[in-house]
Symmetry: D2
Subunit: 343 residues, 4 copies
Amino acid sequence: MISFTCDYNEGAHPQILSRLMQTNMQQEAGYGDDIFSLSAKEKIRCATGCESADVFFLTGGTQTNATVIDSLLRPYEGVVAVETGHVAVHESGAIEASGHKVITLKSYGGKMRAESLKQMLENFYADPSWQHMVLPGMVYLSYPTEYGTVYMREELQNIHSVCRSYNIPLYIDGARLAYGLAATGMSLSEFATMCDVFYIGGTKVGALCGEAVVFPQGNAPKHFFTLQKQHGAVMAKGRLLGIQFDTLFTDNLYLQLGKHGVDAAMRIKEMFLKKGIPMYIDSPTNQQFPILTQEQIKQLEGRLLFEIWEKRPDGTAVCRFATSWATTEKQIKETEELLNNII
Amino acid sequence: MISFTCDYNEGAHPQILSRLMQTNMQQEAGYGDDIFSLSAKEKIRCATGCESADVFFLTGGTQTNATVIDSLLRPYEGVVAVETGHVAVHESGAIEASGHKVITLKSYGGKMRAESLKQMLENFYADPSWQHMVLPGMVYLSYPTEYGTVYMREELQNIHSVCRSYNIPLYIDGARLAYGLAATGMSLSEFATMCDVFYIGGTKVGALCGEAVVFPQGNAPKHFFTLQKQHGAVMAKGRLLGIQFDTLFTDNLYLQLGKHGVDAAMRIKEMFLKKGIPMYIDSPTNQQFPILTQEQIKQLEGRLLFEIWEKRPDGTAVCRFATSWATTEKQIKETEELLNNII
Amino acid sequence: MISFTCDYNEGAHPQILSRLMQTNMQQEAGYGDDIFSLSAKEKIRCATGCESADVFFLTGGTQTNATVIDSLLRPYEGVVAVETGHVAVHESGAIEASGHKVITLKSYGGKMRAESLKQMLENFYADPSWQHMVLPGMVYLSYPTEYGTVYMREELQNIHSVCRSYNIPLYIDGARLAYGLAATGMSLSEFATMCDVFYIGGTKVGALCGEAVVFPQGNAPKHFFTLQKQHGAVMAKGRLLGIQFDTLFTDNLYLQLGKHGVDAAMRIKEMFLKKGIPMYIDSPTNQQFPILTQEQIKQLEGRLLFEIWEKRPDGTAVCRFATSWATTEKQIKETEELLNNII
Amino acid sequence: MISFTCDYNEGAHPQILSRLMQTNMQQEAGYGDDIFSLSAKEKIRCATGCESADVFFLTGGTQTNATVIDSLLRPYEGVVAVETGHVAVHESGAIEASGHKVITLKSYGGKMRAESLKQMLENFYADPSWQHMVLPGMVYLSYPTEYGTVYMREELQNIHSVCRSYNIPLYIDGARLAYGLAATGMSLSEFATMCDVFYIGGTKVGALCGEAVVFPQGNAPKHFFTLQKQHGAVMAKGRLLGIQFDTLFTDNLYLQLGKHGVDAAMRIKEMFLKKGIPMYIDSPTNQQFPILTQEQIKQLEGRLLFEIWEKRPDGTAVCRFATSWATTEKQIKETEELLNNII
């Protein structure tokens, strides 16, 4: 059965597996000092146009968010995120476990608005009891967001500008970065100027696992490695992460995989719209959110896998269809037939 | 150049890579609900003779120790370990980061003695101010230890018995479990009766990454998964861990890899002893600690890689030679020649 | 100048100071083992009608909330509170610092509604990804709330009933408990049946400092004292807390002080209403929130101290006037004159 | 019965109680903004000769240590202390609870040696795996130590000098500072040049509670107040602490109380020595540690209270006799008689 449940249904891009095979018995140092990791870091510096960038490889998203956020905040500071942000909802309290509050702002289709951020910061320091509260110490965005939406150039610039005026870093969670860049057409090097630290998601874009944290200006906090280790986020066989990112950043593969996933998503979206099925949100990325009736859901049951995102009072449900780097032409065609014949 | 620096110099056992290739495009659920993980858990239950065991897969050792320990302790409790234990020294404070003290006992060649443990516990509760101190809430051992030594059946039983009499769980770090079992000849199912929770190390025994936590009596603390997620220790593509452990626990592969590493180590050890080079400790497992002179170290430089473990006042150094599942006949032969010709 | 800024403007009730003087040179054990603390605990057990209650004395509110909450939650659990709750806003992240998320619900005049709580809990466990989220592990209320409002008998019972059906404890912050009881006429022993743990606030009701945590059913978590110590919340000279609570619970003093503060507040409230000044909220306790215009605020400046609680878009401001056990007839009279002559 | 159990057996110095009475109904701001606290801070700046010192008042020792240490360390850093240091043993893991390891050095009669510290730091950075370990981020000493011993000028200078060469702050726990200064004759202003932050203990020197943290060079970490609040260490009625320290730092009272306690201790010590009873350690401060036989202990039972510090294999016990600011001539005389007649 075809699954659009998430963008980590499959293994890895074949080139990655093939590199793993080729290099398997080569003896290399541990903890990221292998030649693959060194090469991958260099390629990422090149792709982001940040020659002095600090780059670190971690295994998964929650771990990466917790480590980066902990590295940037003082104990009395919290991270500002929208209420639907991954760190605010789906990380089992990993941020709080390292002692930090997630300060939430209203979400607009998954996005933060520069004005809300500015207003919150102004109100905070205008409050006479601000010293009894958690200080807003950094801002967290996801790009694309958990709702598939994505910030336009100007939106990012405005948020970054508010951050700078309060001297707090902007951190972008790029778990699905390739899909966001494909949707907006922004280059990785332009993106890298829009924030103070971000991560390039591998897990959802062709890797078995792995996220690459980038401090574009070589601005990693001191002893980031030790903090990474403390968070259980240093892989002994760092080569596994090095080889994967080295492959993803060879011949532009990472961005191509992003484009592949977004193209597939646009075709799926088109199919729903043609059938008169409304979309919950106008997502330009690899996650699409059609609103299906209970009958439609029943008809698809057993033929297509996807996620029920949110049940609505009127009996319909927001559903999530996630394409990815791995979505095949065959899967799209079969989905089209299914939708045509059934709904 | 041949490296004995550590037991994670290579990639994975070829069967693992080949399984990854075969299953790569099969769509599977995330977070450990894939069929490989389910199958691997069943095989581990079978191999440990614990049919109701709770099994969880995590990525690396530090992360696993931090998660298990945090799951077993109350905030006012600490974990008892020898002063050379991995959690006490080489995890960048991961245990303390989750709020818990590591209470240290003297190490005897890397091992804890049941009597020291008993004495400490007796003294603790005899101290009138014990309520102002960190309560000893569990015991941590590594098997084999960081010095390659390994507990005999009776030693483990004695420690476990002290734990039981104080009603505190015994946790065994099995980062190199296969090498320990190969050295002692203990079966996995017997081992599983010796403690309350342990982990089966994959990273150092043929996997790319991965450790399998086993609660033999189905005694996992409630909501262990959520805590695992909070520690950034849940892999989105859980299949990567599932496939590896499923392979390692097919046809007894895990134990065979352990035997392979230990056999190689015994041959290396023999070579040193033949040359009259003393061993720092009599290790029956895959880590060997010859004491080399500065001249001997210089002679090997550029021909053989290994770790300087500890420099000694007399100018000699304790060196670590780690063999593994991946050590080849060729490497052993070449090492023999090197040692014969040079030292 | 008369100050209604807060309910901790003065020192202590004279009987407390006089007891401190009388007993000053009597040698007593530290850490709460003095005879005053033992006597005070017994009197609290009597006043609450809970003869097997566990009682602990701590110094201040934030410390008490952090300790109690940490003692009741597992690391993957959070505390549910309204968004205006003290633990959610004004404790500088003390709850998060011990690793726990504050899960917020909408506030209705400072109060939580049983239905909101029920709805949230139902939604939580209906969400297929609940294991990736922070589990709601307990409920926090303040009585009276930060807005001076107070739960009626039935409201408390309904919330407690939801808690019980989900098997999570209900904790009530009684920083101003005496004022709440005076307003509702509920007895302390009835109140004690409405929750699983609460604290009796001393600091705002006549003590120099001190809060008494009560586990009515003798249901204190094991080793609460050690956790209290870990939170820096054990006073070496426990006698200071013991003497104060022993005095407050002699001849019903605590409840009388509450009544005194509420009577004063009702008179102040009446004055504002007579002058046609609207109240932001209909508070029956010692905190009153008149909505003043900028002109009124200017007229009072330099004559009366109070807090600007919230500036409103129309130029008016919600102001807080807090009376207390210490408010004098003279202060009330002078305030009346001021309001009559000026506004 | 006379008690030498500890130096917090009594209430407060009478002048403190009398100031509390006089000022009781004066309305003052909360959280340390009262005029007493402001005055006390100024007097402490004067007494320490540090006109730009940052001064903060907290309630107790454990709380103070936890807050100061948390304010100075980054998450991957630990605090270095001797193995008998208060933070290492008797704070129920308060330091670890805020995420930091206590790195222990051998204790020499309760004291740290500059050479041990230097050696540890050298070894640490010489260890190739130091990035996998907890970084030594600051040094903690107590003055006097838990064994009544006290650092001489040069010893402190040497330790401070090692700290400076590694660029890590030196923090001194002055729970019993007055007794230490009385013993060494060092002035408070000289003492203030010997470290980067220290606290002046009130609880054990005449206050009901209260410790004053001093950053002599105005070098308090940013937002120390907010961190203090997070640690539950801000007193709502800050006046209680302000009045006490204002009194203690009027007319040199603090130092006089220290001298009084030490004088009493010297007389007690003399009595033991005259009777041929050996002292466990040669303490020049208010804690004395005679080694008593079981028979001697039995003879004193029911007549004199003191602490059994450590039972020894030969049946004797190290006992602690603590004098204080409150020890009376009558108590000393009676003790003398008791010792003469009984032992």
